[in-house]
Symmetry: D2
């Protein structure tokens, strides 16, 4: 045992706890809609924000002082030790990582691969000893300067090659560790200026890259889900995987809409001008909902703040859409959240996750209660009930503008509007949250 979390015991479910190093609401074994709460929520901790991020921002450097900061294999193992100690305290069922979070950077691809393989074995042993499972792995193709102009969409084919090779090793690692999904976030797949960018070429490159990922998945027998994480911008001015609808168009274009799903982040939804529940509902309607990153943005900041969730009514609406869509299959609730850079203490790391898990538990329970009550779905169905008539269905199957115009004239159709009752629906929701 390292001393990093000294004095912090594994968190218990204790509704009346006096401080925030306990769960007041998250009770893994509690049954919600016939399923254990843990199995609904499928929480994951992100290696990067929790263990790799140093507290820097564009105007200041590292604020955290962690004994594992540095880039040797020994420090990487120390980081893993502390990570699994945190997992033991939180008791969450999953974690996630990028390659660069868990291994030191090598001089070249070969050394990167060796480093990755060694640390994957190390982590695998810890998992075997009772740690959480892997929700997803991913390759960081955006931090190293070689990727400054993108990976799959780089104007230099050698960078494409380096990126593809790296993804192979990360998929291998994810497969070896039994990952439930593999994620691609194209942080620099986009552009800084149209003036030097060939959109046509870059989208072809991106489509091919993604297809190779899907092909390799099948080749190695990885039965997890391939996920794309949309984000509209930042770090680049424009990122190709802008939002759920844009990703759907790309998948459809390359014939991958049945092979790839989306990992939706609240903060990214906000940056794209959408609510979180909009993105989830859109993905569900398009058949590509996969998983979520449950971390909020500040509504007054124009960049990605990656804060722990703290607003139960908002979280409840997100889980409502997830439950309506049938819940997760391979996906889960990942906290892609970082401490504020002023939150220096080890206890901050634990308490932030514990508070977030409680917020999600409250949101889930509220969403489940809304679904069980059925009030919203009853009203929604009633609102569209007119479409069940023969004439209405005919319009959707065999109608033409002419036949419809003829009927409007003949029947003197002149529809009167009906209240949408938005405020009353919001009142109804407020009974549960």
């Amino acid at each position: 045992m390292t001393a990093f979390f000294e004095g912090i015991a594994p968190l218990a479910y204790a509704p009346d706890a006096g401080d925030d190093l306990a769960f007041r609401h998250y009770n893994p074994d509690e049954i919600v809609l016939g399923k254990r709460m843990e199995d609904h929520l499928r929480f994951a901790v992100a290696w990067w924000h929790s263990f790799a991020w140093e507290g820097g921002d564009p105007f200041g450097g590292r604020t955290f002082e962690r004994p594992w900061f540095g880039s040797t294999m020994d420090l990487a193992k120390l980081k893993a030790d502390v990570a699994f100690e945190m997992f033991a305290i939180l008791g969450q069922p999953f974690f996630c990582f990028h390659d660069v979070d868990i291994r030191p950077e090598g001089a070249d691809f070969a050394e990167n691969t060796r480093n990755l393989e060694e640390i994957v074995d190390y982590i695998g042993e810890k998992m075997a000893a009772g740690g959480p499972k892997l929700l997803w792995g991913t390759a960081n193709l955006f931090s190293h300067r070689r990727f400054m102009s993108g990976a799959a969409t780089n104007p230099d084919p050698d960078v494409f090659a380096f990126g593809a090779a790296t993804v192979k090793t990360c998929m291998d690692a994810t497969h070896k560790l039994g990952g439930a999904n593999y994620v691609l976030w194209g942080g620099r797949e986009g552009y800084e200026t149209l003036l030097n960018t060939d959109l046509g070429r870059e989208s072809e490159q991106m489509g091919r890259f993604l297809s190779m990922v899907v092909e390799y998945k099948h080749k190695i027998g990885f039965d997890g889900t391939i996920l794309i994480e949309p984000k509209p911008q930042e770090p680049t001015k424009h990122q190709y995987d802008y939002d759920v609808s844009t990703v759907y168009g790309t998948l459809k274009r390359f014939g991958l809409e049945n092979e790839v799903k989306v990992n939706i982040e609240q903060g990214h939804a906000i940056l794209a001008g959408h609510s979180f529940e909009h993105e989830i509902a859109t993905a569900a309607a398009l058949g590509i909902f996969g998983s979520i990153d449950m971390n909020r943005n500040d509504y007054q900041s124009g960049w990605d703040t990656d804060q722990f969730p703290n607003n139960v009514p908002e979280v409840a609406l997100a889980y409502y859409e997830i439950l309506r869509a049938g819940g997760y299959t391979t996906g889960g609730t990942n906290f892609d959240s970082k401490l504020r850079r002023q939150s220096l203490d080890p206890a901050d790391l634990i308490a932030a996750h514990a508070g977030a898990m409680d917020v999600c538990a409250r949101g889930l329970k509220a969403a489940a209660a809304m679904l069980e009550d059925g009030g919203l779905e009853t009203r929604r169905a009633a609102r569209y009930a007119g479409w069940d008539s023969v004439e209405a269905q005919e319009m959707l199957t065999s109608g033409t503008l002419e036949s419809i115009a003829e009927r409007v004239t003949r029947e003197a159709i002149n529809p009167a509007p009906v209240s949408g009752q938005q405020e009353r629906l919001e009142n109804w929701v407020n009974r549960f949250v």
Copy 2:
């Protein structure tokens, strides 16, 4: 002749004109890249903002005093008279309209249709007498209270029917007047709250509606282009045709990507978080570029301000993408622009258009010069030149993650980044604008 524009003569090309009731830059017959400037720009005036809008905003009512305000057929004809007098002054080759701009609202569909047919005949005579041509017609399916919850995506099938019937009459009108395109802007095809919305149903309705439009186009032999105008929001909280990429996904989903193109507006691009040139370049890359609405938004306002363009460097970048894409086919440059509500005078209406046409002429000439110089395209091509190698092309055709990883290892590929030269490209552009 009405007296509305009394004292304002048809605008001449006069580079040294002392005031702004002349063109200092727009010279219709001037040859640019081998084509008349007028044939490049294909300017259109919008009936609604110029003649139907009364100067109101959410906090105040009508500021304009126009002798044709009201809702009788006589006033509609007076409005048409004044419109064609303005066209004669401006000399632009096209105009555009919604049904409700040109006809008074009737009591029902039948009366609407009669009103429309009568005024279409009236306008047709004016066109025959030498007025401009019709760039596009469209149906206003968002202002009347019956459409408050959408038209194609309304929960009430009777509203869908009323909308479909109305579109039929507007397509007929457009066809009769020889329109070059037919546009659909789904101002209320979206939602105010997810709580009462069935995204799945609504998207199916929307897809069917659009398919019927395409079918009807072929049925009647209309050889113009069907255009969708993307906008992310306003009036609704969320509008389904969010941006070019979203529209592409929808078209692809319903198999309409070869039948329908987009009409892109600068203001709508901005509201969706994109630059105007981004949306044009994206549409061109996806093969769905159609036409533009050349009206800017205020960068500090979060709603659609529909202002006349006034920034030449920005306009030049838009035309650069249009020229790179081969220029317009059926599309054109429509001013979906309204006077500021404090610009009360008839002369404001003329001068605003004249100034905008000059800004576009300058932008076009700058764009043409950039294209002729070729400096940008040479640099762009050089940046991607590495992709011409055999190894690079193989990755795009037959590559796999494994084969690429093997090559990266074997050849010890370790790419060094190359400057993107954004500032120097911007300097280059500034030589022309």
Copy 3:
């Protein structure tokens, strides 16, 4: 009795009510922090949104059908009748109005004044008969076309004069009806373009106008508070009373910081880039907190949506700052909220207010509990405790850069940062909301 709200009984406090035409949380007589809940919250209904707004937006006209729409004195009285019937159902203690909400527009100032006086008498009788009191009155100096370029800041002194005269009549009306405050919202006191604007002149005009309001208040013995309502923009591109800090600067400049306070709206705070609680806390710190408009904006819309509040945790933070500042004196909680334009039914109007009052009641109770617990204030005080030392206080009183630099050197001061614990504070808040 009119039939408008037929079938809707006065709302009762009924925590287990089956629908939303009751209060589940708002219990006027319940004691919170030693005071009746009604006396804490001081709810007010806004005449304009509830009775004068017709459901229009920039893309569509009236959706509501109200029997009192029109502009005769009889209809104005019918409107007042319905208003007081709604007040009787809601039982809220206050209402607010602009002159144009309650009277028909006359041909000139004299007729406006006569109309206002007549309807004020009519309303006064209703108040005497047991209706709610007046939280504030105000003059609408932005809807009529004469005010299109502002009132106090108009380039035409006659508009300034017309505005000043109108404010006089509205202050008289407010005084006569026993109003607790008088509000100025400068909807068009700002500019559309700097190109035609003289900032220096306009600010002098604005300062003089405001001073005259203060002088007149004292002249007539009105002992209510003069309030300015900040808003950054909309309808104008830029509005001078941008936010609380800007208003403070203006007041200070004209020596009015002890005479005028602010009425803060959540939606306006959001548009200015601030949270609601920020604006309240800032006003409190500057000694100019007055009253609030409790209506939210949609976080994804860039215009003023004026929606009823529905997020309890957010509302709780607002009331927490109000309670910390000592609560309202003459101010209150006004709902400057409008129904969504699709919410057509009379019951929507009642339910929307009832739901909002419940949300506020929950927020108030949570805020009170947080304050009683004291956890946040204890932590806040501890964070700054170092400032209580003699050396620290000396820096604030007699310190100089030199003396401090000398001490830093001598004592080798090299401070270590301390955790800000943001997440743990948020966890703490979540115990109460």
Copy 4:
């Protein structure tokens, strides 16, 4: 001479230059409005972005490879050598620095001071040998982790002390080098969460800190201007010096409005919801205009992008307001601009500045031509001409609401609105840009 800029000759004014390593428009000795262009524009290069910034962003590290990166005194001198070589190439008259840009970080205040003094002497020698002058110096009180919760507004008085001592040394350095101004940018003077913040205390601390700076300026006989640089947010969620109006309120509150002026940055103006020209015109109207940072933000990005200016019409409007206000006194045009992180080459650094200087030269000449023409000022004066009447002036001096209301009634004042002519004014501007 180092080899860093090898092959790049000092830039000449060469209007027909074939590449962008020359000035096509900036001609220092050209007379504009009776003054040398160089003396109008007063260009300054920023040490931090040009020499200290490494190309990192929140998602990736250093992209630049500069031989002086590191933290020894020798490397700091090498950096200074290269800086002065760049200054010799550009020929701009000024530069600016933070302490941390020019010296390595020491272990404590004493070592910081020694390092600063040594490098200041080194730079002083270079200046004496013919380099540019110092436009302003400033202290970086935001990057080191000790300042993570602010400097002047830190809850720990020792950080306040460390900050004050540091400012003393930076003012000494600025004074010694003959700086024309001293700047304070409060990057972390604000908050991340209201929950742990005492706004009252922090504003008192900030006021005292600022007063001490002013006192020290007079003490040492520094006759430059003290400047505050407003910014609304980033890195903190909320920054106290939000915008020009907010800073004015603070100055007025602490009686410093005649002692301190503002340094306005385009990017910061945009983030605060204002145009650049708005902030300049506001500062001029309030008597606190000082200097500018001429670097633009991307209109679609919600964070500070600090890009070199490239839009001449926008830049022209900024200089128009500066010229109208009488031009700079001690201020100047600082490029607080950084290369895009993909612009790796030394030539990028030169070309970016050269292009920006040309854009400014074009903007200045356009602004001067507009001012000489006088068209805008004539129209502006005419618009307010009504205020010159006796009655109008009386309203501003001795008017009361009563006397004005009496006159409105007596004279039946009923003003008719007059066109604001925004589009025609924009057309007029477009004749010059």
